[in-house]
Subunit: 218 residues, 2 copies
DNA sequence: CTTCCTCTAGGGTAAATCACCTAGGTGCCT
DNA sequence: AGGCACCTAGGTGATTTACCCTAGAGGAAG
């Protein structure tokens, strides 16, 4: 097995050092280059043709999403692992659409990072956290074109989003029920469904979800 | 000259690895510990009494600002270098008020990071980017009491902000009580006080307050 | 037509929170 | 020394949520 060649792209030198510390040398892997923005990532990928590209999303000049699109079009053999701080469903969708096969958070353990690179290198998708749920939630339908209205909140129904908004705006179940003219138990059921769907465990999680997905504003 | 002992605090393992890669061994320096949140940073600082504490701002359980306040009060000999992605004047002001003597961005070069630790170790302030401008802009008026920037979080005590963070991160009263080692009833009392002080009426209001005031992030 | 999803709503029990109250100890400032 | 803010913590009772179920009506999709 030839040694795995990894290109890393992150505008933060500190993170690049961290990636080097974690990935370089690991099981015969080698970091073949470092890019400080998306544009450079595209250039270096063209030159170096790495097996795996570990890339941040928010970078100057050209963001990781655009860079991924360009690279995946030109170099289908190079697999892209997106490394980001953000965990929003919208972003996961865009990442998938851009052609990345992996999505991992900067807050995840480096063990997970290694596992992700390992999977990606074998052309297996790798997603963490909510990302995996979005994928499992039927986002990927092989052969099918990606769902069109996928940028929003594909997993919640209109009614559920309505409920989310009312609840996260500070209304109790009872108040929401009154506003909607339905039973408290119904709101309760919706609430439970929503929590389960999104794998959340507290109202505050729900509020953060709502803010991240621009259902409400902080 | 005795070797410099550095404690690092960041919730991202990747960043900790990066910090290790950059700082450990550098000119006889040694990383004496790693904290994954502000609370642990306070604990470890108490135990290890490091010369320098390199600390992130946004961390779970207890953010870097609160941690800095507590540490600077208890261990004036330990200098705190704030390491963050955010570059806002408001934050710089808060950092200064909290007692940190240094402020550096994650996007800065690691060379600058080393220089910052060097300066901090000799009890010289070190600020980069807009931070330095804020400092030079007369934030520090020797002799004068620090400007009463009372618009933000003057109304909550340190303990209350601590509680707010825990609650808005999704912990129940009981869980918060456990992490703080106090009674549920105490948390309950704090909670009621906070709600009353801020004239809020639901947990979700509290979450939005916390996000707006950067106690936590969405 | 059957199946699946959504919205609706109920029962029941356990847990948590809200909204009141009181009150002791500590530390700081005057 | 006294006052004051803060942290602590208990009581009580009402209200709300959490979490487990079931289940019918209506619509969309197979």
């Amino acid at each position: 097995m030839k040694p795995l060649r990894i290109l890393i792209a992150d505008d933060h030198e500190l993170v690049r050092k961290g990636l080097r510390a974690v990935l370089d040398g690991q099981g015969g892997w080698s970091i073949c280059g470092e890019a400080v923005n998306g544009r450079q990532a595209v250039e270096l990928a063209r030159q170096l043709k790495p097996d795996v590209l570990v890339m941040d999303v928010t970078m100057p000049e050209l963001n990781g999403l655009e860079a991924t699109r360009q690279i995946r079009k030109e170099l289908p053999k190079t697999e892209v692992l997106i490394l980001t701080v953000h965990e929003s469903e919208q972003l996961v969708g865009e990442v998938l659409a851009a052609g990345a096969r992996g999505y991992i958070l900067k807050g995840d353990t480096t063990r997970l990072l290694v596992a992700a690179v390992e999977a990606i290198a074998q052309h297996k998708p790798f997603f963490t956290g909510t990302a995996s749920e979005v994928v499992l939630g039927g986002y990927f339908r092989p052969g099918q074109p990606p769902r069109k209205e996928s940028r929003d909140l594909p997993r919640l129904t209109a009614r559920e989003r309505e409920i989310v908004q009312l609840l996260t705006e500070g209304r109790s179940n009872k108040e929401a029920a009154t506003t909607l003219g339905i039973s408290v138990k119904t709101v309760d059921a919706h609430r439970a469904n929503i929590m389960h769907k999104l794998n959340l465990h507290s109202v505050t999680d729900l509020v953060r979800y709502a803010i991240r997905n621009t259902i409400i504003t902080a």
